[in-house]
């Protein structure tokens, strides 16, 4: 065993921070920002400050968005890889599965933790060396366990370690953000800071007459109109427009939020069109876009091309299947073999939701079997591909049960008419299907999608 190296194993379980995901538009909890920095980055910072050379994120649910964000860790100069665990895996099983990773040396196991309160001025390598094997830090919100630290020459004396602040409610999130902003010198925070308590991102336009009061943090691509007052205690995310003569103080504006003119946001969290009172947890979904609304980030060229290819393929399918649909649909209706089911996507979503009507055809009679073979059940959904609301192929929720286990925002935000899992014959349950979906969502491109679509159409499973 190489006792010199240190690695960090971060364990994510879907159920642990579901409240945060539900609240913030189905984002993965680790990508929710605190002072304009995703939670995962605080954990990465701490792993680096502790001398970790490698970091593994083990999750019991698909984490496509998180993987896309963190990549291989080269941005931070650390190696990041990913592992899958099962929800029922206990610590022993977890370590067994990651034995090779953990056997390289000392391992810092971070569980149930969104945020580690560290001080960048401290040397956590010394702290780690001094920590005996076992739980080093624990709190209501998680724990840090040290494994494989059997060195005899542990350094005596008190060495300040990190702490795990309680983070179970939106009120605690709000207070933590405020505390982080006030103690900004402890953390590595994004933005340019020429003076204490003031952080500015890139492409920030502050119009004449607008006033900025410290402490304040402003993200990238922000426009603050004339007569507005920002701060004190304001955390403004990225891609934000604050219209004229509005006041934002003691508040957090999450990314992609528009604040209308002459409004007063005090002691609140605003996320798109959602306004949250952190103290009571009350939420108000705005229906007036001129007051507050979501700023939709522009799609990349790659995404536009992919959408266009999907739309063209959907149009071709609509034309080819028009006649069979017109013939079979009334027959199936008469024989009561055509059933529709409305589903909210992602399941349980309160914001950014999409209602999908899925058709179930009973494979009874020649018409039923033919309709299934021709994928007539997908015909009505093809129109949503033209409108850009659905992908032609991507993730397709199972129609078999109402209680789907899919609730991870990252994968669920690519709903489609055909599922990648339908290209394979081996998936036996929803978990298998998720694995296939997950793989192709990461690796497939626009043209691959068409090949996979043909495979899904021809797959004898659906005949």
């Amino acid at each position: 065993m190489n006792t010199g190296s240190v690695q960090t194993l971060i364990v994510l379980r879907e159920e642990e921070h579901a409240w945060l995901q539900d609240l913030f538009r189905s984002r993965h909890p680790m990508l929710v920002t605190l002072c304009n920095k995703p939670f995962i980055e605080y954990l990465i910072d701490f792993a680096i400050l502790s001398g970790s050379e490698a970091l593994r994120i083990a999750s019991d649910s698909p984490i496509t968005d998180l993987e896309n964000y963190c990549g291989n860790g080269s941005r931070w100069g650390i190696t990041i890889d990913y592992a899958h665990i099962l929800p029922e895996d206990d610590q022993e099983r977890l370590l067994e599965k990651n034995r090779q990773f953990c056997s390289r040396g000392k391992t810092m196991l971070i569980e149930k933790t969104l945020f580690v309160a560290y001080d960048k001025k401290n040397d956590y390598r010394l702290w780690l060396r001094a920590c005996p094997e076992g739980v080093a830090v624990s709190g209501t919100s998680g724990s840090i366990t040290i494994l494989g630290n059997k060195q005899e020459n542990a350094i005596p004396g008190p060495i300040p370690g990190p702490s795990l602040p309680m983070l179970l409610t939106i009120g605690e999130y709000y207070r933590l953000a405020d505390d982080t902003l006030k103690n900004a010198d402890r953390y590595i925070l994004p933005g340019y800071s020429s003076e204490p308590d003031c952080f500015l991102g890139r492409n920030v336009v502050i119009q004449k007459g607008a006033e900025i009061r410290k402490p304040v943090m402003i993200g990238n691509n922000v426009q603050i109109s004339a007569g507005s007052i920002i701060g004190p205690g304001a955390i403004i995310g990225s891609n934000i427009i604050i219209d004229r003569e509005s006041v934002v103080s003691g508040s957090i504006l999450m990314d992609n939020t528009f604040i209308g003119e002459q409004l007063e946001v005090k002691g609140r969290i605003a996320d798109g069109s959602l306004l949250i009172d952190p103290e009571s947890g009350a939420t108000l979904q705005m229906e007036d876009p001129h007051l507050m609304s979501v700023i939709q980030p522009g799609a990349s060229t790659k995404q536009i091309i992919r959408r266009l290819i999907h739309a063209l393929a959907a149009l071709a399918l609509l034309i080819v299947l028009a006649l069979p649909f017109l013939v079979l649909r009334p027959l199936l209706g008469l024989r009561r073999n055509w059933h529709t089911k409305k589903r909210l996507f992602p399941p349980g979503a309160t914001a950014k939701k999409l209602t999908i009507e899925q058709v179930v055809i009973r494979p009874e009679g020649a018409d039923g079997r033919l309709a299934i073979a021709l994928s007539i059940d997908r015909y009505p959904s093809l129109f949503k591909v033209l409108g850009g609301k659905l992908r032609l192929i991507g993730h397709r929720p199972a129609v078999s049960s109402d209680t789907t286990t899919i609730s991870s925002g990252c994968i669920a935000m690519n709903p489609a008419v055909f599922g990648y899992a339908e290209t394979e014959e081996w998936p036996e349950n929803e978990r298998d299907e998720l694995m296939v979906d997950h793989y192709h969502l990461l690796h497939s491109g626009s043209l691959n999608d068409i090949g996979l679509l043909l495979k899904a159409l021809l797959n004898k499973k659906h005949m």
Binding site: L263, E264, V265, R268, A282, L284, M286, E287, L291
Partner: protein
């Protein structure tokens, strides 16, 4: 919408119970009703205990009714304002315009003496 006239404060106070939702679709109904109530008295109390959602058009009707009551030397007071309505009124700064009371009884009592609070 229920409406009654209360005279316990020594003046005629019209008390209206607002519906669960006041938005662009339903605000015209409130506006028309308010016109009728104003013919009976310029002192109004809107009981918001059942009000769960209000948007900017609904808020516009409240402000417009308030303006009309003041023009007639009366007032419009709000009672039992819920959290969601309160958040919207704080956001738009409309909360500063109204006198807000925890319940309809205290709102009616506030008309005693005829001074706008």
């Amino acid at each position: 919408m229920e409406f009654s006239v209360d005279t316990s404060a020594g003046v005629r106070v019209g008390v209206a119970i607002l519906p669960e939702r006041i938005d662009a679709a339903s605000c015209a109904e409130l506006q028309a009703a308010a016109e009728g109530w104003l013919k009976q008295t310029a002192n109004l109390v809107f009981d918001c205990s059942g009000l769960d959602f209000i948007d900017s058009s609904g808020l516009g009707v409240l402000v417009s009714t308030l303006r009309k009551t003041i023009e007639q030397d009366g007032d419009l007071k709000l009672a039992c304002l819920g959290m969601k309505a309160s958040m919207l009124m704080e956001l738009t700064k409309a909360k500063r315009l109204f006198s807000i009371h925890p319940d309809a009884v205290s709102a009616i009592a506030a008309f005693h003496g005829g001074v706008r609070q």
